[in-house]
């Protein structure tokens, strides 16, 4: 075992095995699946935010040449709901009423998408409008009405307080209040959603291809909702072009497409176009927080009050509402990396006539960081202190781990103080402050924003994970080549590479002799899928456990065949040898041949063949990654535009499996953070129309919006397998706050603070319109 503690591949900057097929255009995404006779779907979607459907005339649609079937609720009477959690469920096709713009009403199944869309335009739907519920605060007060008459708008309410919070507020010498708001966003994977369903010609089962993060869960959803036994449903995930939490749901379209394939007895495919994607991919964020902070003269923050509100949209997304995720986890990590002893939170999640809220990378995190970091900067400015000093005064100290925060969450060990200090060095904090003063004399407004973050990862259950564990099946074939299958649902994270790195060390085989499978319920062992930064620590943990078990078996073979003690066997480079006597070796290939074809030589007690499945459930309910981001911006106060000119990240996600892949995740999250902070917002008008339905209205960061990002790693291992922590969300948790704080810092001469994300040029012009404050 000592040798396994010296990993060669884990921690190495290995190039991805996924890349050649993607770079050469050979990868198969959902829309690349085309089989003879395949029909295509277009949905008739609601153009009204809230209305009764008085009448629906689909005769012209049905008669349109090339239309094979038209499905309405009566053909597919399925509701997406969790009865134990919510009293409301969305019918997969609208039933007598519509509750948001973009809600699917009917599905047109035709020879091609072109024909299906032509026919969809002939649908005549007569609506009787209801007052749309579009304002979060008013909705919480049941105004202008209940979205669903039988149940209050507030579908999730929770209160929490530490025992002496009121006293702490009463005794503190300083108080500040602020309201923080994040607008609606969406994940906007470059590959939109899509589903294809067909009857498998070999077995007669229903085979569903889906662009999803959660293969096993989606199979169960389809099976349960359509009443088909699970073994009669095979779910295959092709290449997935990004997910970011948005592809963790079961959507109405998934169910309708599967039903259509069964009804038509033909292969059926639906691929979302971009307008549909903006209308009907789960939205994220949409939070309002009314916050009050109490602090001492020396900058020590003593207490925090927060009324957390989120707009969950018209229905709980299935099987979880993003609004609950946004608020409940935020309320438990709202103090971030700071030692703030007293806390009171109130949560209200409301229905509205908007698209249901789901997960978008980071879920609760960006708003929590925006608040916690915004508060620190407000305290600093109020007291005339340096914001870095206020952070160092409040940040959790190394000796405090494991640290139990005011909400009762236990943080395992991290490098909070070290990351903050190193990030300040990395960005030459002192030098920047001097330069900033000089530039202000020239009426140039540059600012620096700090964002120290915590990231709960590897949660025993997360939005994507129906189960808290992950699984790995290893099969070594008779030639010594390895196939390893996982229940994960990667969307670009490179699991085929990272899981193979882990296994190569454990099995002693060459990296290129391992192939990693995922995403086909026929081959993948049952697992929770990808989301909530769980695949590295939990999937990787499963690889370690399974790899170790297989290694033990290989060692037994080698010891028996080499006539040596098990404790003397070492593995590597496709061979097993006697320690110190490398010429006494046997290849893994020969061991594998023995295991399958020369079975009389199998050591006693071992089964025939080299196959096993292991599952890994972390013993801790979660592990916290941490780090600090620092953004530098320049604000043009004549136009209100913001340029992000510098960026640094010091990140600690425990043991790194592949630093390059970790850096790719960080960079992508920083870009999404620039989008969240400066560009991306979904806007509904007062009538409940979504007015941002193209990429000309919903703006994504471009290559020219990104500064060069400097990155450093610290490694504080978790107590889980391999010391791995998750890390895919931290960069988007931290970055919006860093940029918001940088803009606030740049605008300090105007005494302005960013309180809404994204902060737009209009808002900046409003903030800088008056006289200079000082």
């Amino acid at each position: 075992m000592a040798q396994a503690m010296r990993p060669q591949m884990m921690g190495a900057r290995v190039s991805r095995t996924e890349d050649p097929r993607l770079l050469s255009g050979q990868a198969r995404f959902l829309d690349d699946i085309q089989v003879p006779g395949m029909l295509e779907v277009a949905f008739v979607r609601s153009t009204h935010a809230a209305a009764k459907i008085v009448q629906m005339d689909l005769r012209e649609v049905q008669q349109y040449p090339g239309v094979q079937a038209v499905l309405t609720y009566d053909d597919c009477p399925v509701q997406l709901w969790q009865r134990e959690a919510y009293e409301v469920g969305q019918p997969v096709l609208a039933h007598h009423e519509v509750s948001y713009v973009g809600q699917p009403i009917a599905a047109i199944i035709a020879d091609s998408r072109y024909v299906a869309e032509d026919a969809a335009e002939l649908a005549r739907v007569e609506y009787e409008d209801l007052p749309p519920v579009t304002d979060m605060r008013r909705a919480i007060e049941e105004n202008p009405r209940r979205v669903h008459a039988h149940t209050p708008n507030v579908f999730f309410h929770k209160e929490y307080a530490t025992p002496s919070v009121e006293q702490a507020f009463a005794q503190a010498p300083h108080h500040l209040r602020a309201t923080f708001r994040t607008n609606r966003q969406t994940a906007l994977s470059l590959e939109a959603r899509g589903t294809a369903a067909m009857v498998d010609t070999a077995t007669g089962r229903l085979t569903v291809y889906a662009s999803t993060q959660s293969p096993h869960r989606l199979r169960e959803d389809i099976s349960g909702l359509l009443g088909i036994p699970t073994h009669q449903v095979r779910l295959i995930v092709p290449e997935v072009g990004g997910g970011f939490g948005m592809k963790a749901n079961c959507y109405p379209e998934d169910i309708v497409v599967a039903k259509a394939a069964l009804m038509c007895r033909k292969p059926v495919k639906w691929v979302s176009d971009r307008t549909e994607s903006l209308l009907s991919d789960v939205h994220g964020r949409d939070d309002i927080h009314d916050v009050e902070v109490a602090f001492a003269e020396d900058g020590k923050i003593v207490a925090l009050r927060d009324h957390l509100m989120a707009d969950g949209g018209a229905y709980p997304a299935y099987p979880f509402s993003g609004a609950v995720g946004e608020t409940s986890l935020a309320s438990r990590v709202i103090t971030g990396p700071y030692d703030i002893p007293h806390l009171a939170t109130v949560i209200d999640c409301t229905y509205s006539n908007k698209m249901p809220l789901g997960a978008y990378r980071g879920v609760w995190g960006p708003v929590a960081s925006f608040i916690q970091e915004g508060i620190v900067d407000r305290v600093a400015r109020h007291l005339g202190m340096d914001p870095a000093q206020v952070r160092l005064r409040n940040i959790i100290q190394p000796h405090q781990f494991p640290y139990r925060n005011a909400a009762g969450m236990t943080y395992d060990e991290g490098s909070y103080q070290a990351c903050l200090q190193q990030a300040l060095e990395l960005m030459d904090y002192e030098g920047f402050r001097k330069r900033q003063q000089e530039l202000r004399q020239q009426e140039r407004y540059v600012g620096l924003g700090i964002s120290a973050f915590v990231e709960p990862t590897a949660m025993a259950s997360s939005e994507a994970g129906s189960v808290g564990y992950e699984s790995c099946t290893i099969q070594i074939d008779a030639t010594g080549r390895v196939t390893a299958a996982f229940g994960l649902g990667p969307t670009g994270q490179g699991h085929e590479t990272t899981m193979a790195q882990i296994l190569a060390d454990q099995l002693g085989v060459r990296f290129e002799d391992i192939i990693v499978l995922h995403g086909d319920t026929d081959s993948a062992p049952y697992g929770g899928g990808t989301g909530g930064s769980r695949s590295g620590p939990i999937g990787g943990g499963a690889a370690l456990v399974a790899g170790r078990q297989m290694r033990e078996r290989l060692v037994k073979y080698a010891a028996s065949l080499l006539e040596a003690g098990e404790e003397d066997i070492e593995l590597g480079d496709g061979k097993a040898w006697v320690a110190g006597v490398p010429e006494r070796y046997i290849s893994i290939r020969t061991i594998a041949e023995t295991a399958y074809t020369n079975v009389t030589k199998i050591p006693e007690g071992l089964p025939i063949g080299l196959e096993l499945t292991a599952r890994y459930l972390p013993k801790s309910p979660r592990t916290f990654s941490n780090g600090t981001h620092i953004a530098i911006v320049e604000v043009d106060v004549s136009t209100g535009s913001v340029a992000v000119t510098g960026y640094g990240v010091v990140n600690d996600c425990g043991r790194l499996i592949n630093p390059t892949i970790v850096e790719g995740q960080i960079l992508g999250g920083v870009a999404q953070g620039i989008g969240a902070a400066l560009l991306e917002a979904l806007h509904y008008d007062e009538s409940g129309q979504l007015v941002t339905t193209s990429l000309m209205d919903y703006l994504l960061p471009e290559s020219t919006d990104m500064p060069r990002v400097m990155m450093r790693h610290l490694e504080t291992p978790s107590d889980g397998e391999g010391g791995i922590k998750g890390m895919a969300e931290g960069s988007l948790i931290a970055s919006p706050a860093a940029i918001a704080n940088a803009v606030s810092d740049a605008l300090a001469p105007f005494d302005a603070f960013v309180d809404t994300l994204p902060v737009t040029p209009e808002m900046i012009l409003e903030m800088t319109r008056g006289e200079l404050a000082r």
Binding site: L23, S24, G25, D31, V115, T660, L667, G668
Partner: protein
């Protein structure tokens, strides 16, 4: 109304002539993908913004979602399959792999073609020029930095070659 009126169409794609029957309203992207089977060209928005469907039309990066296939007659079309060697990867593709310039890979074919055209047109492009050229290709995963690094490295390699 007839379902789809089809007309004869000749397209030159990756150095080969394709005789097709296609509807005049079909986009070049759809015809490349679903008639010719070159599914390396991806459709990300059909609004001409994301750049995932970028192909080269007579060497110039062009949105294949905004063009009808019939409009592409008489032009030389190059897709990602056309810049991929018979075996292995092109130097630019190799550079993308070694610099981790892709994650989900959906936007990658369009970015490769934009970068190929840039380096052909401006072999000394600097980082700012590379970022400007790539600004018409959205990537949601990588934050662009490693893509820029990959193009810079490929540029150096071409210069040395």
């Amino acid at each position: 109304m007839a379902v789809e009126q089809r007309i004869g169409l000749t397209l030159w794609v990756n150095g080969k002539e394709h005789l097709l029957e296609a509807s005049p309203r079909w986009s070049l992207a759809d015809v490349l993908r679903h008639q010719i089977g070159l599914t390396g060209t991806h459709v990300g928005c059909e609004q001409g913004v994301c750049g995932a469907c970028t192909v080269l039309l007579d060497g110039q990066p062009t949105r294949s979602c905004l063009m009808f296939a019939i409009q592409a007659q008489g032009h030389e079309i190059t897709t990602v399959e056309g810049v991929t060697p018979t075996e292995g990867l092109s130097p630019l593709q190799q550079s993308f792999q070694s610099h981790h310039a892709l994650q989900c890979g959906f936007c990658t074919p369009g970015i490769l073609l934009t970068a190929e055209a840039l380096l052909a047109d401006n072999p000394t492009a600097d980082e700012e020029e590379i970022r400007a050229a790539l600004s018409g290709n959205l990537c949601r995963c990588t934050g662009y930095q490693f893509i820029v690094d990959a193009v810079l490295a490929a540029r150096e390699q071409r210069r040395d070659a």
